[in-house]
């Protein structure tokens, strides 16, 4: 199979040699693919502008011995531009790309749900459907759930005791009942638990009306939860701006 074609989102790019880039894609059918874009850093490149982070593209690859090569690119969603025009969107979007890059670990292993989740998330971000911070937090909770680490915002994450509960524990997996509560677990506001549940289920009418205080509290918990289950710091998370 010397040539193949796939829908993809550009996760990141790294300079290679004089004018090339190694581009990391999250593709619809093949999961993560790393490929070389030849000459794309030259201002005369025919598709350099389409191989930028945040771009949703239709790509044709040529299979190579070590790395595949990009031979054709068409734009499906030109999100890069709109994301870069707003610093809040840029920092939130970068954290989404970094999380996707981490969660889809293996190359050429299909990750269809992760692909659609990121595609939808970037579109919601670029089109400003909701506050950037909410889109990021919802994306992180859902992407982690797809990867097998679903937060339990209402019922006890340990024993399943129906909630709502008052305590939250990252290592336990979310809300914890009084019996399961490990010592030192924080007690966020009840509205924060409601917001976490709304972000996880996509209940935007609830999420959009949450107050700044509860948004901040929820994003702190989402950040701690993400870092714990990703087992590494998401570097871009510390630079996320929230209004």
């Amino acid at each position: 199979m010397p040539l193949y074609r796939d829908d993809a989102i550009v996760l990141r790019t790294q300079k290679l040699g004089e004018a090339d880039r190694i581009v990391t894609f999250l593709t619809r059918e093949r999961g993560k693919v790393r490929a070389v874009g030849r000459g794309v850093r030259r201002t005369s490149s025919r598709f350099g502008a389409r191989l930028e982070p945040f771009m949703a593209v239709d790509v044709q690859f040529h299979t190579g011995r070590t790395l595949d090569t990009v031979t054709q690119v068409e734009t499906v969603g030109a999100y890069a531009r709109r994301v870069c025009e707003d610093y809040e969107l840029y920092t939130a979007g970068t954290a989404m790309l970094e999380a996707a890059d981490r969660l889809v670990d293996q190359e050429h292993e299909p990750a269809v749900q992760q692909y659609w989740l990121l595609a939808g998330g970037l579109r919601a971000l670029a089109e400003r459907h909701h506050a950037a911070g909410l889109v990021l937090d919802s994306y992180l909770l859902r992407a982690l759930a797809v990867a097998g680490w679903a937060l339990s915002p209402i019922d006890c994450a340990r024993c399943g005791e129906p909630g709502p509960h008052h305590a939250f524990n990252v290592a336990a997996g979310g809300a914890v009942c009084p019996r399961c509560r490990p010592p030192g677990s924080p007690s966020p506001a009840p509205e924060t638990f409601t917001l976490l549940a709304a972000l996880l289920s996509g209940d935007w009418s609830t999420a959009d009306t949450a107050s700044t205080r509860h948004r901040n509290e929820a994003s702190g918990l989402v950040a701690a939860y993400s870092q714990y289950y990703l087992e590494r710091t998401l570097r871009s998370l510390r630079m996320v701006e929230r209004s």
Binding site: D7, R12, K15, L16, G17, E18, T43, S44, F47, A49, R50, E52, P53, D58, T75, V76, G77, A78, A80, R81, V83, C84, E85, D86, Y87, Y90, T91, T94, A95, L97, E98, D105, Q113, W116, L117, A119, G120, G121, R123, S138, R142, A145, V146, G148, W149, A150, S152, A157, G174, L200, S201, G202, D203, Y228, Y229, E231, R235, S236, R238, M239
Partner: protein
Amino acid sequence: MSGAVAAGRAAAWWPGPWTRPVPREPSSMSDSPRRLCGVYEGAVQDLIDELGRLPGVGPKSAQRIAFHLLAADDHEVKRLVDALVEVKRRVRFCELCGNVAEAELCRICADPRRSDEVICVVEEPKDVVAIERTREFRGRYHVLGGAINPIDNVGPDDLRIKELMSRLADGTVQEVIIATDPNVEGEATATYLSRLIGSLEITVSRLASGLPVGGDLEYADEVTLGRAFEGRRIVGN
């Protein structure tokens, strides 16, 4: 698949119905080893590792350069070593603008004929060289030392942005031209800077992105062409 179909399915998924998998313990995915697997012994491997850290040098090139140096004459290698030592000894960064300099101030900051009213902000010293080649610009520069790139751990505090703001504080500068790279990181950096400088009474402009001179319009991609439209200017009259 067409764009419309892709967008449609993305909309269905976001915010879509949700089924919750059971939480599980974190696995032990560890950092992938960055260091090239040590194929060679001691000094040779150290050299390959050092060369591999240079921008644009991959594992294979690092190995090729290392073996080239091993085979080269002693005096050839000494010339390279001397050049490296000399450049680190003599060349430093301009205290005002961050450009490469052989004194406290670079050639441009030290030149009394240049205008103090306009500052052109670039990412790297090599961008100063590129703009100087045009002979279009007679103001001063400010070199940031990169662009904001959170994934690579580069935030606003890691760039020379504080130094730029202090240069703007005394009211001499009337215009700031942002000439960061026309890519995602460069654009985001420009967005950040224009928001920051926007609070002062200074004109902020961004270098126009447009069509490559000497090319055919039909070959321009839609992103570049769109930018060229936005940056159009009135001609005649």
